[in-house]
């Protein structure tokens, strides 16, 4: 973890699904476990950027944002190590 990342908020957004609802959660990056931070880093490397991409109908997609970095992760590739973060997601308008 770099010093600049330590005090940052990790923002998570779930979009898509049949309902198309938008759910969000945010976390203090420094409070994530080492395994979780490692999985987040892997997401940034494997699924970088936040431009909308073509996907599979009605599957969820997960956007991660940390400072200037972002990742857009298809549901099928969401890491097991980050499964617990999904329980914090709550509906949000728009």
């Amino acid at each position: 973890m770099t010093e600049s990342q330590g005090g940052k908020q990790l923002r998570l957004e779930r979009s898509g699904g049949f309902a198309g609802l938008l759910l969000r959660a945010s976390f203090q990056y420094s409070q994530l476990s080492e395994a979780e931070r490692g999985a987040v880093e892997q997401c940034f490397q494997r699924w970088p950027g936040s431009d909308p991409a073509a996907g599979q109908p009605d599957r969820f997609s997960y956007r991660l944002e940390l400072a200037e970095r972002s990742a857009l992760v298809p549901e099928a590739h969401w890491p097991e190590a980050l499964k617990a973060l999904l329980t914090a997601l709550r509906p949000t308008a728009g």
Binding site: S15, G17, F18, G20, L21, S50, P57, R59, P91
Partner: protein, 346 residues
């Protein structure tokens, strides 16, 4: 010179293809290939592969009868579950979700067959496979190209997805779209893909209820909302943006949403073509599938637009199709054009 037309039921031809002599098999396959080319191809492939058991199953069904199997995902995110809860041969399962899924798959098959003579998703008797109890408290349902997955819902946002027949119609229609227009799931083609699923999902429900366009509620996902969701459904084709508290679907281009989320807002901007279909169907009166639905369906099966089509191309294609089916300047062509104008697409 007199010509004769022999009308032999496809089932009989398939029996001959399976069990007849070499000559009978050749004649049967040739006949099948005229108007059942895909099915005949399957039979040929199956014969070549030597899997007679699978062929016998396909033959026994016959067109017009679904081939459904519902599996139990046992709360795992397993898209290849093998535990069977219900088949065509078996009795109703001791599992309400399995029975609802089975019935919904059948109702959707029945709608497409009765109205459009479409034999399953691929029009070639594709078996309809569903999985219930997908994931833990999973708040979604989707078609993955081979099976439809049903989550049980978390009890807060959603109470489950098997009870809403329009949801099942919606998901299976994603398969029909994939087999016909192949619309890319991004931006406007993605929103059209979504809208087509809502259009046909709603018609599956209306067909089951025997409703005319003006009797229908035009809601998508009514009855599956949990206590956290304040509203009556997830989407309203009649009045986009009013289905639940926080619904911000637009009903016209003035409200078009540019966003990176949800594959470019496919579930938001689908409200625009959804509303256009509603306007056309209500203006034409009667049952939605008889005119507006037929126009939309013909655009799909004739591949009148490409995979990257936007709203304008789709609007033009449906207007042209209406004129082709019902006549230039017909009430149908005018109603479709007016619906797209009212939604500010044309």
């Amino acid at each position: 010179m007199r010509s004769y037309h022999f009308i032999v039921p496809p089932q009989l031809l398939e029996q001959r293809a399976l069990r007849g002599s070499a000559e009978e098999r050749e004649i049967a396959l040739a006949t099948l290939s005229i108007d059942h080319s895909i099915r005949a191809g399957r039979i040929q492939n199956t014969l070549l592969a030597g899997s007679a058991q699978r062929l016998q199953l396909a033959v026994r069904r016959g067109a017009g009868r679904p081939d459904r199997t519902v599996f139990d995902a046992k709360h795992r995110l397993d898209t290849h579950a093998t535990s069977v809860l219900r088949t065509e041969e078996g009795q109703p399962a001791g599992d309400a979700a399995a029975n609802q899924a089975f019935d919904g798959l059948g109702a959707t098959y029945g709608f497409y067959w009765d109205v459009f003579r479409r034999d399953s998703i691929d029009n070639a008797a594709l078996p309809l496979l569903g999985e219930v109890h997908f994931g833990e408290r999973y708040d979604n349902a989707f078609w993955d190209g081979e099976r439809m997955m049903f989550g049980d819902g978390d009890g807060q946002l959603f109470t489950g997805f098997t009870s809403a027949i329009d949801v099942i119609g919606h998901e299976l229609t994603h398969g029909v779209t994939e087999a016909t227009l192949g619309l890319r799931y991004l931006g406007q083609p993605g929103a059209l893909n979504e809208s087509i699923s809502d259009v046909f999902g709603s018609m599956v429900k209306q067909y089951q209820l025997g409703q005319t366009a003006d009797q229908a509620d035009w809601l998508i996902g009514a009855g599956i909302l949990g206590p956290v969701m304040q509203g009556q459904a997830l989407r309203s084709m009649k009045a986009p943006g009013t289905a639940y508290e926080g619904d911000n679907q637009p009903g016209s281009m003035s409200g078009y949403v540019s966003t990176a989320s949800d594959n470019g807002g496919v579930h938001l901007n689908s409200g625009i073509p959804n509303h256009a279909f509603y306007l056309a169907a209500v203006a034409l009166g009667g049952r939605a599938w008889e005119k507006a639905g037929r126009i939309w369906y013909e655009v799909m099966v004739r591949r009148a637009v490409g995979p990257q089509a936007g709203f304008v191309q789709f609007a033009q294609a449906t207007t042209t199709m209406a004129a082709s089916l019902f006549g230039l300047g017909s009430a149908e062509a005018n109603a479709v054009q007016e619906a797209w104008r009212e939604t500010q697409v044309l």
